[in-house]
């Protein structure tokens, strides 16, 4: 549940940023205020940010009932793999061998760091 919320939030946010376009270009054209306005006007970004906020509280609750040494790496690992799968399906990102390998290394690395 925690990982699913994190993946939902990250994929929606990434999708929103892709739709909005390059923030550097928007900032050059309409200034920092214009870039902030463009982000805050995106419903997809708002839903993604809400999912991230709910994820934050869900993680806090999980940490209060499950051992942190299990919950933290487990949710982080599931989130990284879930993000790679969701980015391929929903954002149509070209997740090539290099990126799968990177996601796998991150998952194993996070698990090892928790030891």
């Amino acid at each position: 549940m925690v990982a699913a919320l994190a993946v939902t939030g990250e994929v929606l946010t990434a999708g929103a940023m892709r739709r909005i376009g390059d923030l550097d270009v928007i900032r050059e054209r309409s200034g920092l205020g214009g870039a902030i306005k463009a982000v805050l006007r995106s419903p997809m970004f708002i839903v993604g940010a809400l999912a991230m906020a709910v994820n934050f509280f869900a993680l806090l609750f999980t940490l209060s009932v499950v051992d942190v040494s299990l919950a933290a790496p487990a949710t982080a690992s599931l989130t990284y793999i879930g993000n790679a799968v969701a980015a391929k399906i929903f954002l149509r990102e070209n997740v090539d061998k290099r990126r799968w390998l990177a996601a796998t290394f991150v998952v194993v690395g996070v698990i090892l760091l928790a030891h």
Partner: protein, 144 residues
């Protein structure tokens, strides 16, 4: 996929890597100074906002979110992800060299794997370019 990263964009990715982990560490350090907050002592949260470490941590986390959103506007999520994971490495180094905690062999192995993961994607293209649909081409005036 195109590789379009300029030096300033590498700096944004560096900010993504550093701000979240250093911000979290500063918040954690500040909150240990403030003391335990529970439902009966919620006022402590307001006094936490006067703690220099907490203020610094919050500012760095705002900086993280801004640089993360900026990175996602010109790079794929699967490209930026390992950069966020690199924060774990920064926290491990901070705990070793600032808080003088012991890092086990497992942790060194974990650090090595995450550094390798960052290396894999950093050498690759940053963004998937989708072919524009007919409608998008018309919107852009290319199809006329």
């Amino acid at each position: 996929m195109k590789h379009t990263l300029t030096p300033s964009r590498y700096l944004v990715l560096l900010a993504v890597m550093l701000t979240a982990s250093i911000g979290d560490t500063m918040l954690s350090h500040g909150m240990t100074q403030v003391g335990q907050v529970d439902l009966h002592h919620l006022g402590l949260l307001f006094s936490a906002l006067r703690n220099v470490w907490v203020i610094g941590g919050i500012l760095l986390l705002i900086g993280f979110f801004a640089s993360y959103l900026s990175a996602l506007s010109w790079a794929d999520l699967t490209f930026v992800m390992p950069a966020t994971a690199f924060g774990y490495v920064v926290v491990a180094f901070l705990s070793r060299f600032w808080l003088h905690e012991h890092l086990s062999l497992y942790r060194w192995a974990g650090i090595t794997m995450i550094v390798c993961a960052v290396g894999f994607v950093a050498n690759g293209p940053s963004r998937t370019e989708h072919e524009a649909t007919e409608l998008e081409l018309m919107d852009a005036g290319v199809g006329r």
